[in-house]
């Protein structure tokens, strides 16, 4: 019924945001606020549709999308770490540049404005048997799960250990949270930051591939619809911790699913769409208020 369908579409709509948020979170832990997640998602979606159509393999398409995101991430990172570019302006600029390049290729090579339809696009396969969808409540949701979603949630579960119990995770966090300490320990923080931005690109590209290949199988210039920024909102709200961030993504995915339902019920979808952004403002205010209060107490 309605509940299980909303659940099912929530899980599907969460995945791209979640993947981008995981990438952004890792990047942020290393001290880089990645505002270009949206561009990388868009690039991933674009590449995945073309590769899926040409090779006929969803796996190759997904990997190509992740590689495209990672490559853009590398360039972005080099501009920040080696050429000392301001990460916010460079990130916004990158969003324009990538959107421009994609639009350019789209209208030049594919002679289309905005939308790319390709023949024989291979969609992501569902893992579990479709007969599951007759199971009440969780059935349709389970039937929707494909490899990319599974990968995203496994990443969420593994990430806390990676960040707190591995050499790489600890060094990464030291680079972002205590640059002087990292420097004193002789860690090559620039290399680590580059690595984290590449990882962010990898995950965002994957998220883009999911956007394009989960069900629609085509590319559109407005496909990412600001999801890279919602992902930014998610890890800000989740305070860079994997599990809370994932829960926030789930909430945003749920809101997205509800928003689609609400359009038929007559509630304004545009206003519901602003909720994630409001939540971030509230979260920022809360965090700011707490730190000011803490400072005043010690003073």
């Amino acid at each position: 019924m309605i509940v299980d369908q909303v659940l099912a579409s929530s899980i599907v709509l969460t995945t791209p945001i979640l993947l981008a948020a995981i990438g952004g979170l890792i990047n942020r832990q290393a001290g880089i606020v990645n505002i270009a997640l949206d561009a990388k998602m868009l690039a991933g979606a674009f590449v995945s549709v073309i590769v899926s159509s040409v090779t006929g393999s969803w796996l190759v398409a997904v990997l190509a999308a992740a590689a495209a995101g990672a490559l853009i991430g590398l360039f972005f990172s080099l501009a920040i770490t080696r050429m000392r570019a301001d990460m916010i302006v460079a990130g916004l600029g990158l969003n324009f540049l990538i959107a421009g390049l994609i639009g350019f290729v789209l209208s030049w090579s594919f002679n289309s404005s905005g939308t790319l339809r390709m023949p024989d696009v291979q969609l992501l396969p569902k893992i579990l048997p479709q007969s599951l969808s007759s199971v009440p409540v969780v059935g349709p949701m389970m039937a929707q799960i494909e490899p990319v979603t599974l990968f995203a949630w496994i990443s969420v579960l593994v990430l806390p250990f990676v960040l707190s119990d591995t050499r790489f995770g600890l060094r990464l966090r030291a680079t972002g949270n205590a640059p002087q300490v990292a420097h004193a320990m002789g860690l090559g923080s620039k290399g680590l930051q580059d690595m984290s931005t590449i990882i962010a690109g990898f995950f965002s590209g994957l998220g883009g591939a999911h956007l394009a290949l989960a069900s629609i199988g085509l590319f559109n210039e407005g496909l990412s619809a600001g999801r890279g920024f919602i992902a930014l909102a998610a890890f800000y709200f989740g305070r860079n911790m994997p599990v809370p961030t994932a829960l926030v993504c789930l909430l945003f995915g749920f809101l997205d699913a509800v928003q689609i339902r609400m359009q038929t019920a007559g509630l304004p979808p545009k206003l519901i769409g602003t909720i994630p952004y409001f939540m971030v403002l509230v979260a920022l205010c809360w965090a700011g208020w707490r730190s000011v209060r803490a400072r005043d107490r010690t003073a």
Partner: protein, 354 residues
């Protein structure tokens, strides 16, 4: 001899860097655009001369370029005023949009018997709404140290959502279908300067704002103080400049200028508010401010440059089948290289100090 030569040499290096710094991002963007054009087998020089021809070739084309320049004058100033005070306001886009809706609302909702008075009322409401819009993140930054980048970025989306809701709901025009407000009264329309082009009196307002900005940053205590805050906060507070007051001041002025820009666009260009009111004027304004190094003359040239690209881009697409997206590519490259360059200068300075 050597002692006398050093400051002279340093000064000339500084001058060289400054000049290079202004040209470099633009040059880099041209290189990137040329590469893209070469890949598709077009002669970049021919394309650029076609763009120049389309942007400045005749009175009509110049008027079209200046018309596209107009919103950028406002958003460029609104961004620069914050950037030079070290406040990273990326919310000009949102403030521009809410201001535009405010002015359009005055233009169609108040009785047309008010006549020409509708124009100043519209501008005043737009300025007020947008000033409050940016005063909020300004206050949050000044009082609670809440990152202005994120808060203003989020407010952009809120602005788009709320105005999008209003023009599809309460303020929807009954006559013309989707996503637009009714047209404003004729008396609220700004004068068109060179008909048939859409160049309107808002351009003159923009020039006035730009001149006022140039005066403010160089000749008023508040303007000079805000630059000091931008360069060195600890020094600024040591000499008795209030940092919170400066932050809120520049955010409010930025809001006022953005709002005036929105009003000019609504009353002069579109004569209503519509969804997609701003195709990223706020963000292009950032590129303009960065390219112009926050100086008045730099902003003037920057906004004419991007205005020319926008107005010529459309016709170039028609005549030479080169996609309009080349404009976005240039804009993005300019933004990236503008800040890369800033980093390089900082690197030079540090070496000089050592």
């Amino acid at each position: 001899m050597a002692e006398a030569a050093t400051p002279l040499r340093e000064r000339s290096i500084e001058r060289l860097e400054k000049g290079f710094g202004l040209v470099f991002p633009f040059f880099a963007a041209l290189v990137v655009a040329s590469l893209v054009l070469l890949v598709i087998g077009k002669n970049p020089l021919l394309v650029f001369s076609l763009i120049a021809e389309e942007a400045f070739g005749s009175t009509n084309r110049i008027a079209a370029t200046l018309s596209a320049t107009t919103p950028l004058l406002f958003t460029g100033v609104a961004t620069a005023i914050c950037f030079r005070a070290g406040v990273f306001n990326v919310g000009v886009e949102g403030a521009f949009v809410v201001g535009g809706l405010g002015a359009a609302f005055i233009g169609f909702a108040l009785p047309s018997s008010l006549g020409i008075l509708l124009v100043p009322i519209g501008f005043a409401l737009a300025a007020t709404v947008s000033a409050f819009w940016l005063a909020v993140p300004g206050y949050l930054l000044a009082r609670y140290e809440i990152e202005e980048v994120v808060s203003t970025l989020m407010l952009n989306f809120v602005a788009l959502g709320v105005t999008g809701y209003l023009v599809n709901g309460p303020l929807l025009s009954e006559k013309s279908g989707n996503n637009v407000t009714p047209l404003i009264h004729e008396s609220a329309e700004l004068v068109r300067l060179i008909p048939p082009s859409t160049l309107h009196a808002g351009f003159l307002v923009g020039l006035f704002i730009l001149a006022a900005y140039g005066f403010w940053i160089r000749r008023t205590p508040a303007g000079i103080e805000s630059a000091i805050v931008g360069q060195n906060r600890r020094f600024a507070s040591a000499v008795g400049i209030s940092i919170p007051a400066t932050i809120i001041l520049v955010m409010v002025i930025s809001g006022i200028v953005s709002g005036l820009g929105g009003a000019s666009h609504a009353l002069g260009q579109l004569h209503r508010f519509a969804e997609g009111f701003s195709p990223g004027y706020g963000f292009t304004g950032m590129a303009v401010a960065l390219l112009g190094r926050n100086t008045a003359i730099g902003i003037l040239f920057g906004s004419i440059l991007f205005g020319a690209l926008a107005s010529a881009g459309t016709t170039v697409q028609l005549f030479s089948d080169i996609p309009l997206d080349i404009v976005n590519i240039i804009e993005g490259t300019v933004m990236i290289f503008a800040v890369v360059e800033l980093g390089r200068i900082a690197l030079f300075r540090r070496k000089a100090v050592k």
